[in-house]
């Protein structure tokens, strides 16, 4: 009887221990798939740069995720309360992040991958943005940066805050389109990055109109859309990278993996412009 119970206990223990293997695994958490969405034929400026294999200047504008796992995890807002402007009428402008991005942030991971894919290429990435920024605020940043310096490529990650606040999708599309024109006028290509996958947002926010706005602008020449949401949903469904289901102790590692994966896929999208 006791033997049987011990045996059962061992089996149970083995089953419990076997659990995390599903999520951890030793394989590639984010294998490249052939049907990866995104057309890179449009990135003519980038293609020319990569062909010459010399120098690629990238401007990345977006929210905290652009700065890497550390910035995404920062408790930030809860402690950053301020009296200043408490009754000034509009919600406080979200603070810009002034610290340089982490090496692990996906725009920098993309640069690292690009250097491997195109030997001899020098990639410089400038990251601008901050937590909870609206597309309209990012557009201002974009204008400022483009006026100050020439870039070959702009990565623009936006849409989540608009969706959460239920802001008019038409205006969002107009802002994107203005930004795309500014980037085009500055002689650069634009890679739009859509919101992060989150079950919560998918359930409780009406994301579709914002995705449509992103897609419409991505149809303009010189603009492509990096489908981060779809990619992350795939990884979450595979159990490979699932931030919403990752225990606290493993979360920083998981976000690191996520950024590396996003960087790799983004690099492949950009490198495809070589063939385009």
């Amino acid at each position: 009887m006791i033997k049987k119970l011990t045996c059962l206990a061992w089996v149970a223990a083995a089953l419990i221990l076997a659990q995390p293997a599903k999520a951890g695994g030793s394989g590639d958490p984010c294998p490249m798939r052939d049907e990866m969405p995104g057309l890179a034929d449009d990135l003519s400026h980038v293609g020319a740069r990569l062909q010459a294999a010399k120098h690629l200047d990238v401007l990345a504008v977006g929210s905290a995720t652009m700065f890497g796992p550390e910035a995404s995890l920062a408790p930030g807002t809860l402690t950053a309360q301020s009296l200043a402007g408490a009754f000034s009428g509009t919600p406080p402008a979200s603070s810009l992040i002034s610290t340089p991005p982490s090496e692990r942030a996906f725009p920098l991971q993309m640069a690292k991958q690009l250097r491997t894919l195109v030997p001899g290429l020098d990639v410089q990435v400038t990251v601008r943005g901050g937590r909870g920024l609206l597309a309209s605020e990012m557009l201002e940043l974009l204008h400022k940066e483009l006026a100050a310096k020439h870039y070959d490529m702009v990565i623009w990650q936006t849409g989540t805050v608009e969706a959460v606040r239920n802001l008019p999708p038409g205006e969002f599309g107009q802002i994107l389109s203005d930004g795309a024109q500014a980037v085009q006028a500055a002689g650069a290509d634009l890679v739009l990055v859509d919101p992060q996958y989150s079950r919560f947002l998918q359930t409780n926010s009406n994301l579709d109109p914002y995705f449509q706005a992103l897609q419409q602008v991505a149809a303009m020449p010189g603009v492509v859309l990096f489908h981060r949401f779809d990619l992350m949903r795939g990884w979450a469904n595979d159990g490979a990278i699932d931030l919403e289901r990752t225990p606290r102790s493993d979360r920083e590692k998981a976000i690191g993996t996520l950024h590396a994966c996003l960087g790799r896929h983004l690099a492949r999208l950009v490198a495809a412009s070589l063939r385009g």
Partner: protein, 381 residues
């Protein structure tokens, strides 16, 4: 309530109960059972059911009260009800904010605050309090009750027009049409307008009130209406299942038609959503007669109890759905999913049961005595 319990339309309570349950399960991210809720089969969802039936119940209760005691009396009761809802909303706001911010801190997940739109509360707490009281700061989950408050305040004004249902209908429609054309909405502090624009949604509420207070004569060609309603629902189903998931089909449809159909917005109660709920209501009223025996069955009873006490059940549902989300993130798996749905449903029924018990508080119901509670709260609890 002067009318005996038997004349109460239990269908209203039942479907309000169902809508409340759908609101609970739909609010849980990636909930398996939520794929069977109405929003996956029709262009309308629990919100439309809720507003139509709220209007229906209001027309019944306050319309009768107005006939008996006049506009001032009934209108005052409507306003008292709106005030109760407002207080409940503010209480829920405090509870929910505490729940989310505590969880975000304890579990080290600051994204909870961003996703639920509570990030601005941390950045400008004093201002946010004021905006919450003005109902112009509505975090996610907390946008239905503000609409309901506004609908009741509007209804208190319109009450006497119930006697001229055509005038009321046309006025309400004109306001709705104006919103559809101009897009005017109550402002939101963080940009844009209210998540549910009351100036548009009032039309559905008023339709509900007219249907109960001054039910139009049933048309002669009911079969034709059945067919039209079915066609509307099928069209919605086709859009949901066969058009929207495939953008390449959308591209082939005429650009203008596609734009109209793609933008079936919830904020301003898009005409397709309005038609869907009306078609659905018509067919359900045809299929489920008021006298259906199963409405009095033991199985229907818990749902009806929830529908009769929609305010506490709704508030509990919001709290529970966030709790369910936490549980599902901590203990991933179908077992957790089954558990949160079962426990959550049981808890909602318990809240409904408790609210129902409070009516008599253990005292044997004495039918010979006049009802103690005021007429206003009768239909719209």
């Amino acid at each position: 309530m002067a009318s005996p319990e038997t004349s109460r339309d239990l269908r209203v309570d039942l479907f309000r109960g169902v809508a409340l349950w759908w609101i609970f399960v739909d609010h849980i991210p990636a909930n398996w059972i939520a794929q069977f809720s109405l929003r996956n089969f029709a262009l309308c969802d629990a919100t439309e059911i809720f507003v139509l039936l709220a209007g229906y119940a209001a027309g019944l209760a306050y319309g009768r009260s107005m006939d008996r005691d006049g506009w001032l009396f009934a209108g005052a009761d409507v306003m008292r009800r709106a005030w109760t809802l407002y207080i409940a909303h503010i209480f829920l706001f405090v509870v929910f904010t505490a729940q989310v911010s505590y969880s975000a801190n304890a579990l080290d997940r600051s994204e909870y605050l961003d996703e639920i739109h509570l990030d601005v509360l941390a950045e400008a707490p004093y201002r946010a309090m004021l905006e919450a009281l003005k109902l112009s700061f509505q975090p996610a989950y907390l946008n239905i009750l503000p609409m309901y408050v506004a609908l009741l305040a509007w209804f208190a004004l319109l009450l006497p027009l119930l006697r001229w249902p055509r005038v009321l209908f046309l006025l309400s429609f004109a306001v709705y049409a104006a919103v559809r054309v101009t897009g005017v909405n109550f402002p939101s502090w963080t940009g844009g307008g209210w998540y549910f624009n009351p100036i548009a949604w009032q039309f559905l509420f008023v339709i509900g009130a007219i249907l109960s207070y001054a039910p139009p004569r049933l048309p002669v060609r009911r079969k034709a209406l059945d067919a039209a309603a079915a066609a509307i629902l099928v069209a919605g189903l086709v859009l949901l299942w066969a058009v929207w998931p495939y953008p390449e089909i959308e591209a082939k449809v005429l650009a203008t038609a596609a734009r109209t159909l793609v933008a079936v917005d919830k904020e301003g109660l898009h005409p397709m959503r309005l038609l869907s709920i009306l078609a659905l209501a018509w067919l359900v009223s045809r299929l489920v007669p008021k006298t259906a025996a199963w409405l009095r069955s033991a199985a229907a009873h818990p749902v009806i109890i929830c529908g009769q006490h929609s305010l506490p059940v709704f508030c509990a549902g919001i709290f529970l759905s966030f709790l369910a989300r936490l549980a599902m993130e901590e203990f991933d798996g179908w077992l957790t999913m089954a558990a949160v749905n079962l426990i959550g449903t049981a808890a909602l029924i318990a809240v409904g049961g408790l609210a129902s018990w409070y009516k008599n508080k253990g005292r044997r119901a004495r039918l010979d005595l006049p009802e103690v509670s005021h007429a206003g709260s009768a239909g719209v609890t």
